[in-house]
């Protein structure tokens, strides 16, 4: 009879500790994705915000992470619960005989041991679910890092596009302002001026939209970093990096994804728990409540009685068929979910891989073919304007078109980087090509010059004919013309 008591005392000391979210392990899992964790204390961003800093901010502050940590704590509670035993029950009784005499006393101690029999399996199941949730937490961090990366590139692209749009709008505005001068001089019609105004206004509308877009991307990035609305103290770089080396073929990337995707690993862990659950429920389908106990009684005549007993349910009607069915159904549903996720991952890898190559190729064509052709065209138009075959409005219109193509090229490069972020997330790891910026940056500095005078050889407001004195006829000796000096 001492065994149950000893067992209770022994088992009372077997409290399971709360599962620990091992930081080193977490960092290891994240490192596989190229994501690093920041220090626990991180000041809010100020100045120019690099991509890694943005990700650190998001992982530290974003409420999504707090919710994920809470979900993990919930699963930890389940592990604790699975490890705990049912408490024993103590029964006390006093019976008074009719007609007088001594009372009859009874003391009973009973303890249901079904939980004890199932405890190990239940702990395994709960730990599988906790591990699954831990992996989901890690995957959530990766997803958040990926979202932040995409948002950061969107913000940089939007900023760079807005810069080019401002130049484009400047060209259109200059056309309008010059048109007003031409109009004042009586050389163009109201209709001509209206056309210039339409062009300039359309361009200003585009600039407004570009600025709205720039602000919206910054707001979204701030939201992801857990500092919603706070966009005044930090900025993103003004220039997008150039593309890196192409990724591997889709087949290899699919293998990499199926090996490394944490959401798939999390689902596998959950399926482990479900499989264990099915086995458990099948193994103990006959087992109802089992309650051994010990009793002590003192009869009215003082006789003392010691003894034990056991109570258990007879599985005559309910052999836990519903539990078995439910566990099996959950397992099948989990396996189907895994298949769906696997298919989705494979499809996503193929799609993102093609999207990346598509944007890279379009950017290459724009950068290596379209923009150089535009440059040649601009030089040609400038030459035509020099010789008065075309006019300044043609020149500005072509400049606007050239800048529009620069803006399109920036947008294409932004699409490339978003696609690269999506592909990196899809394949569960960083893509080859080295660090961002290794190939340089898509500089647009040459699109704008400091305002300054050209080297005019002549004053245009002046008739350069001689006033009665001859010229030298040695063509080609223009050394005296430089620096706006005299001609002699």
């Amino acid at each position: 009879m001492a065994l149950p008591v000893l067992s209770v005392l022994f088992l009372a000391g077997c409290a399971t500790t709360v599962p620990d979210l091992d930081r080193e392990r977490l960092e290891g899992d994240l490192m596989a994705y190229g994501v690093t964790l920041s220090e626990e204390e991180l000041p809010k961003p100020r100045g120019e915000l690099e991509l890694e800093s943005a990700i650190h901010q998001a992982l530290l502050r974003n409420p999504r992470m707090q919710a994920a940590y809470a979900r993990l704590d919930l699963e930890a509670a389940d592990v604790i619960e699975a490890s705990q035993f049912a408490n024993p029950s103590l029964s006390l009784s006093v019976l008074r005989p009719e007609g007088g005499g001594g009372n009859e006393y009874g003391i009973g101690l009973a303890w249901g041991i079904s939980g004890w029999l199932l405890r190990s399996a239940r702990i395994d199941i709960a730990e599988s679910h906790w591990e699954s949730t831990r992996l989901q937490l890690t995957e959530g961090m990766v997803a958040l890092a990926s979202d932040t990366e995409r948002a950061w590139y969107e913000a940089v692209a939007a900023r760079q596009q807005a810069q080019v749009q401002a130049l484009e709008t400047r060209a259109a505005d200059l056309g309008l302002r010059l048109g007003q001068r031409f109009h004042e001089a009586g050389n163009i019609t109201d209709l001509d001026k209206a056309h210039l105004r339409i062009r300039a206004t359309e361009s200003r509308l585009q600039l407004e939209e570009a600025r709205r877009q720039e602000r919206a991307t910054r707001l979204y990035l701030a939201h992801l970093m857990g500092i919603p609305g706070e966009i005044e103290d930090w900025s993103v770089p003004a220039t997008l990096p150039l593309p890196l080396a192409d990724p591997d073929a889709p087949g290899a990337l699919v293998d990499q994804a199926l090996d490394g995707r944490l959401d798939l690993a999390a689902l596998d862990k959950a399926l482990d728990g479900m499989t264990e659950g099915v086995a458990l429920v099948r193994r103990y389908r006959w087992l109802g409540d089992i309650e051994p106990g010990i009793e002590f009684e003192r009869e009215t005549d003082g006789t003392r009685l010691w003894g034990g007993g056991i109570t258990f349910t007879l599985p005559l009607f309910n052999r836990n068929q519903s539990g078995v069915h439910r566990a099996e159904a959950r397992l099948r549903e989990g396996e189907a979910r895994r298949d769906r996720l696997t298919d989705a991952i494979i499809a996503d890898v193929h799609e993102q891989h093609y999207r990346l190559l598509h944007h890279r190729e379009r950017f290459r064509m724009m950068r290596e073919e379209l923009l150089p052709a535009r440059e040649i065209a601009m030089a040609g138009i400038q030459e035509r304007v020099n010789y008065m075959f075309d006019d300044v409005f043609d020149l500005l219109e072509h400049k606007q078109e050239e800048l529009r193509d620069w803006r399109r090229t920036v947008a294409e490069l932004g699409d490339y980087w978003r696609a690269r972020a999506d592909l990196a997330y899809a394949v569960a790891g960083p893509l080859p090509g080295g660090p961002v910026g290794r190939e340089g940056y898509f500089d647009i500095g040459q699109l704008e010059r400091e305002p300054g005078q050209m080297h005019h050889h002549h004053d245009h407001g002046h008739d350069h004919e001689d006033h009665g004195e001859p010229h030298d006829h040695e063509h080609g000796d223009h050394t005296e013309h430089s620096g706006h000096g005299g001609h002699h």
Binding site: R170, L174, D391, D472
Partner: protein, 467 residues
């Protein structure tokens, strides 16, 4: 000391008239390109025609027939330095060589076709058997590539004539296939000429940056040529003072050209109808040569350098835009500098006119498209000439020898015969003036800017006067 510096030093001490003599002696001598002609009458008694920038087709006499041989072929032609194109011509040139004969001659003209398509030759204005008229499909079959046809007829008229294809002529003439055919009168001339020039007027659509004329253009031509050259590459027409000069002008372009000679009232004396009777001669200073027409003008040469040009002002320009925004009177200051933040090469022009454009293009700091010419070119003893297209000079000197067709340089003006500056004060004198001044509420006359403050405020650009 460089000549330039010598001249500048001289300008400080010599009066203007003396300087012009210096310039005349030292000015650049343009060696005319046209083949030399003898400058004396032939055995048949005529003074040979001189084709500026061109040449005369030699002939052989066989069985009493003058035999010529034309070859139609693709050629490379230079309109002026910096503008070269693949054209079509005869015997290596456009225009083809001048054919010269005498009324009564029998001519046999072989025509070999080395073009990529068939051709024919029409003898414009010449009386001949119908089957010799050269109209493909009407009077003869086409001369296919590689084939040689022969035309043979007797010349029973005199005058200034032309030859050109009458097969795909829209293309072939646009490409430069044409030439002059001069028939001298067999009985001599009532007023013999000392210098006889033949000039074929034409237009070309050689778009800037291209290298082949565009036959599709009907109006908006780029180049206006005399003998397929444009100023400043057109030979000067030279003469000795007092010589009788004839200029035969044929027009195979798509515009009429009012041709003007400075310094003389010439007489219009003939056409492809021959030399007119004197009673039909008329005095003019400008004569329209219509499309497909020929006009002969004659004058006694006075000494000097005299412009000879079409009076359609756009025809005395080299390639230029038409219908572009007019910058005249437009102050671009301030905006120009802003434009240069996007377009560093941009330079505002034309606020006060286009007088300065040539200075920019000549200076080379305003590049133009490849294989084209600035609209205004040429440099004279008094600065830029600012012309192009159908413009050249008749240069008359006292001491030219017959047969000397070389460019004699710039004219040496006698003292007192050059316009000179008497004041640089715009309020000088008390001229009678009427009308309304431009500018709202303007009280004063527009005053030329003479202080170097240009159209976009380029202060201090040196002293542009008193060179």
């Amino acid at each position: 000391m460089k000549r330039r510096n010598f001249l500048l030093a001289a300008s400080a001490v010599l009066p203007a008239a003396t300087l012009t003599r210096v310039m005349a002696e030292s000015g650049h001598v343009h060696h005319n390109e046209g083949d030399r002609t003898p400058g004396q009458r032939t055995d048949q008694g005529y003074m040979p025609v001189h084709t500026p920038n061109g040449w005369t087709l030699p002939y052989e006499i066989k069985d009493g027939v003058k035999e010529f041989h034309l070859v139609a072929e693709e050629i490379e032609h230079e309109f002026a330095p910096g503008s070269v194109a693949k054209c079509w011509g005869y015997n290596g040139t456009t225009p083809g060589p001048t054919i010269e004969a005498v009324e009564g001659d029998r001519v046999r003209i072989y025509v070999t076709n080395r073009l990529p398509e068939y051709t024919s030759v029409h003898w414009h204005g010449i009386h001949l058997p119908s089957g010799m008229d050269g109209v493909k499909g009407v009077t003869q079959p086409p001369i296919h590539p590689g084939e040689t046809f022969v035309y043979e007829f007797e010349l029973n008229q005199h005058g200034t004539h032309m030859y050109h294809p009458h097969a795909d002529e829209m293309v072939q003439m646009a490409m430069g296939m044409m030439g002059m055919f001069i028939i001298h009168p067999k009985d001599g001339e009532i007023e013999p000429v000392d210098r006889d020039y033949a000039i074929l007027l034409h237009n070309w659509a050689l778009h800037p940056g291209t290298r082949r004329p565009d036959p599709s253009i009907m109006v908006d031509f780029d180049l206006w040529s005399m003998n397929s050259k444009v100023f400043p590459a057109i030979d000067s027409l030279v003469a000795k003072t007092g010589e009788r000069v004839r200029i035969r002008m044929g027009n195979l372009s798509m515009w009429n050209h009012p041709m003007h000679v400075h310094g003389v009232s010439f007489e219009v004396t003939g056409s492809d109808g021959g030399r007119w009777p004197r009673s039909q001669w008329r005095k003019e200073t400008t004569e329209i040569v219509g499309v497909g027409q020929v006009r002969d003008i004659e004058f006694i040469a006075p000494p000097g350098d005299w412009a000879f040009h079409c009076h359609m002002t756009h025809h005395t320009m080299n390639p230029m835009g038409h219908g572009i925004a007019n910058p005249l009177g437009v102050d671009q200051s301030g905006i120009e500098e802003e434009i240069r933040t996007l377009l560093p090469e941009y330079m505002a022009m034309g606020q006060h006119g286009m007088a300065d454009h040539q200075a920019h293009t000549d200076g080379g700091h305003m590049r133009g498209p490849d294989n084209t010419l600035a609209m205004a070119m040429g440099e004279g003893p008094f600065g830029t000439i600012g012309m192009g297209g159908m413009f050249t000079l008749v240069k008359v000197r006292d001491d030219l020898a017959p047969g000397d067709f070389s460019d004699p340089g710039w004219y040496w003006h006698p003292d007192g015969e050059v316009a000179w500056r008497v004041s640089d004060d715009p309020d000088f004198g008390n001229p009678v003036r009427r009308g309304k001044l431009a500018g709202a509420g303007a009280e004063d006359l527009p005053t030329p800017r003479r202080d170097g403050h240009g159209h976009h405020g380029n202060h201090g650009h040196g002293d542009h006067h008193d060179h």
